[in-house]
């Protein structure tokens, strides 16, 4: 076998270079949003036992709800469950405008999704894991949060709402 150099048409070579540059530009834009503006994806937070997470008195999800941890700063512990009915606990939250809410969501049964409309909070909810993201609600209004992963017959009715008061 004799060695052959790869033949690349000049138009095609330029196209390949251009494609590579374009992808680098996109990757840069993504990095700026992630590391510069703090628009991040969920990180491992805590592992829990899905069999006891909703009942253990030491678990915040045995008494889920909204907690003000500092002025204007809230933690929302939410349990997403399919048994006995497809629902979030609690279904409704109310915070004043300007609040920063950190969501801690887990499931005692099957996989669920959690997406708050018109915000960047959108993540999977897995039994055994805690999903955490923070949202700052500046505008008053009602924000539905809906289940985005198939979780059984009632998947389509599983949702809740956050009311942001002025």
């Amino acid at each position: 076998m004799s060695a052959h150099k790869m033949h690349v048409d000049s138009y095609e070579r330029n196209w390949m270079i251009f494609s590579a540059v374009l992808l680098v530009v996109f990757a840069t834009a993504v990095s700026v949003a992630a590391f510069g503006m703090g628009i991040q994806v969920p990180a491992p937070e805590q592992r829990v036992d899905p069999r006891t997470v909703a009942t253990d008195p030491n678990s915040p999800w045995s008494n889920p709800g909204l907690r003000e941890i500092a002025p204007g700063k809230y933690d929302a512990y939410i349990l997403a469950r399919a048994v006995p009915l497809w629902e979030y606990l609690p279904k409704e939250l109310t915070v004043p405008a300007g609040s920063s809410v950190t969501f801690y969501v887990t499931s005692p049964d099957v996989q669920h999704g959690f997406k708050i409309q018109d915000t960047n909070a959108n993540f999977m909810v897995l039994p055994g894991q805690v999903s955490k993201l923070t949202v700052k609600f500046d505008k008053a209004g009602t924000y539905n949060f809906i289940c985005t992963e198939f979780c059984g017959a009632g998947h389509g009715i599983m949702y809740g709402a956050i009311t942001v008061t002025p």
């Binding site: 138009y11 374009l22 993504v30 503006m37 628009i39 018109d118 960047n120």
Partner: protein
Amino acid sequence: MANKDKEDEEFRPTGTLAILAIFVVTLIAIWATIYMILVGRGGTL
């Protein structure tokens, strides 16, 4: 196998570049639209 036609040697894919240019413009427009939605909604940390 491949018989090198003179025609092939001179073939310049200009139309291809034109189509790809349209594609790239569309790609950037759509991608940037979604990116701006993301940025407009703010941080998650």
